[in-house]
Symmetry: C2
Subunit: 386 residues, 2 copies
């Protein structure tokens, strides 16, 4: 185990909103009981002032850092950013990462058993939103005894949740680090999500979402993942990584098998994804992303939407990200600055596309550690490093 | 009928390469007999010096201009460019547009009946290449008595064919107009094509390509078309055209039906496409596009690949085209200029993405009509307008 690792970690769960109450949802339904799976790294200060909430993207989970067992070959999805001495320095901060509501990695989602029927929810699971995800997270944070988070941080959908936190709970967040995100997904982004959903729903195994007793719609889910994966990379990174090189052959196949490395890579990404992710969760979470819109479907300006925000901001975009382009991140920064909030906006030059936030620790670490240090030493009331 | 229309047009066919000879293909097989469907507009000069060959993109056909019947609501796919007084002025030029080999609109393709079995080829159809398509077109041009084309022109895959023409038959082409194309498709382009193919092949109705007696794989083909359609537009054009506007509703549905206009548009495009296009043709033609590579899989430079070319060039790219970006069009122009060929390279500013070549007549007309006039009056031996 490396000395900059948080080490062996354990998944915890928090269950709340038991019926008849339940968690009220934006769609009008209520859901309960609700379980959130989460992990924590580092120790909470006695005055609870050093808590950082990390929020994952579409297909992430609560396992953001460390290893599940001593022989675990791979650490959590943001291990490069979370640990002793890293951007989210666990010697100093108490880091919490929950699996989102609607997910399939321990939190309540469409693959969970509906206590009312004893069977998995499937499509009877209510439509959930980014707002609902954040409301559930607030219950977890309250449960942990944290009145005010030092920071909320996340990339992509995680960034949307960070934005939802600062608007829904302005007094509960000192700082936010939205990365490679948007105040609302573009039409192009909705289009890609919808084609992915269509691919899942076209798979006969999907069966109207009722497949938990049998074969899952793996082929449709793999196609959705392949579409997504193309959008997470960039034209340049694909050219560098694969170009037009052939896969395990010297000449064209002249058939419909795999010719090019890029095809082999996508098939592999599609295939391994189906082993870890639930197709219905993919439907629900992409829809939550499509629905997220700080301007409330254009009924208010972004500036108006952010009028009650109190947090300080570090907003990070990546130059080659075309799914959540820098332009959309800058819109958020501009709207926040109109309220005289403390906002740093940085575009990191990278050829790695949207995935850069998961792959480029260098500049992100520099920006985030300085920003968090500033927030912690200036604003937090707890123990300060010397 | 408008006075700038070529009027009512008729599809013709040319059948050649009857067995036992057949058309030799790059994959090593031979195919025969081969039929090409084609249309012509304007009149061929007595000395056959005014012929322009127009080559269509992935899902195009031979019906490039005019109307099929008096009450036909829609003209051919490039009617804005072909007709009396238009870019390809049919008062002056004899325009030929064939449906490509492997297609499904009259030319021999996987949906054609294999004379050896009396049944549609399906996947027993041999893999065809851009080179094979052009070899078949050469037979048609010879059949029409044309020794030297005044010009070959086309966008996207049509541009690839134009490039193949000038390299395979350098003495048979005076000028070429490749538009929004590439000397080889990018890794990202291959990736999108492959996901489309996977969507078709995942449809149970596809049945290994043998579906002609039953229901076609319409759902898979519609998904492939939706993916393609996103790549033909641009982020900006989708934002302008759809934004995040809802379709026939004022509030979010909170279900998996259509919420956004962009979704409705894609569903419609996917659906109408399945009424006119054969799924196997989509597989074969996308593979031909993926395989096209003037550098012969990197075994020679683009400059070397173009060393025997004699034609003059007008190369047109569009600023927002990210499927065949301007960069890739410029590579062709640069390589041609290294051979001291006459090359005009123009990037047209347009927000319309790759589809701009089908939608932006203004600048294209200006560029093409001047270029063709120059080629015709300088080089052609036929009647000159006065």
């Amino acid at each position: 185990m490396r000395t900059d690792s948080v080490g062996i970690v354990e998944r915890k769960t928090f269950t709340f909103a038991a019926p008849p109450g339940g968690l009220p949802l934006e769609c009008g339904d209520t859901l309960g009981p609700v379980t959130l799976a989460y992990e924590t790294y580092g120790a909470l200060d006695p005055d609870c002032s050093n808590a950082v909430l990390i929020l994952h993207a579409l297909t992430g989970d609560s396992h953001a850092a460390g290893y599940r067992r001593p022989d675990d070959p791979r650490p959590g999805w943001w291990d490069m950013m979370i640990g002793p001495g890293k951007a989210f320095d666990t010697n100093r901060y108490f880091v919490i990462c929950p699996n989102c509501l609607g997910g399939c990695m321990g939190s309540t989602g469409p693959s969970s058993v509906d206590p009312a029927t004893g069977r998995p929810y499937g499509l009877s699971f209510p439509m959930i939103t980014i707002g609902d995800m954040v409301r559930a997270q607030k219950a977890l944070v309250d449960h942990l005894g944290i009145e005010k988070l030092l920071a909320v941080a996340g990339g992509s959908m995680g960034g949307m949740q960070a934005l939802e936190w600062v608007t829904a709970y302005p007094d509960a967040v000192r700082a936010a680090i939205p990365i490679a995100t948007a105040a609302q997904l573009s039409a192009q982004g909705i289009a890609f999500n919808e084609v992915g959903r269509q691919a899942i729903m076209a798979d006969p195994n999907w069966n109207g979402g009722d497949y938990y007793g049998g074969d899952p719609p793996a082929r449709g889910l793999a196609i959705a993942r392949m579409i997504g994966h193309i959008t997470y990379l960039s034209d340049e990174s694909m050219r560098r990584k694969f170009g037009r090189r052939l896969q395990d052959r010297k000449e064209l196949s002249y058939d419909f098998m795999t010719d090019f490395q890029v095809e082999s890579y996508l098939h592999h990404q599609g295939s391994i994804f189906t082993e870890r992710f639930d197709a219905n969760s993919y439907l629900y979470i992409t829809k939550a992303i499509d629905y997220f819109d700080l301007t409330d479907m254009g009924s208010r300006t972004l500036e108006d939407a952010l009028s009650n925000v109190k947090a300080s901001f570090l907003i990070i975009a990546f130059s080659s990200d075309w799914l959540y382009p820098a332009r959309q991140n800058k819109e958020i920064a501009d709207a926040l600055r109109a309220h005289n909030l403390e906002v740093s906006y940085c575009v990191i030059e990278s050829p790695l596309g949207h995935d850069a936030f998961l792959l480029e620790p260098g500049h992100q670490t520099h920006l985030i550690s300085h920003f968090l240090n500033h927030i912690y030493t200036e604003h937090a009331h707890g123990r300060h490093d010397r």
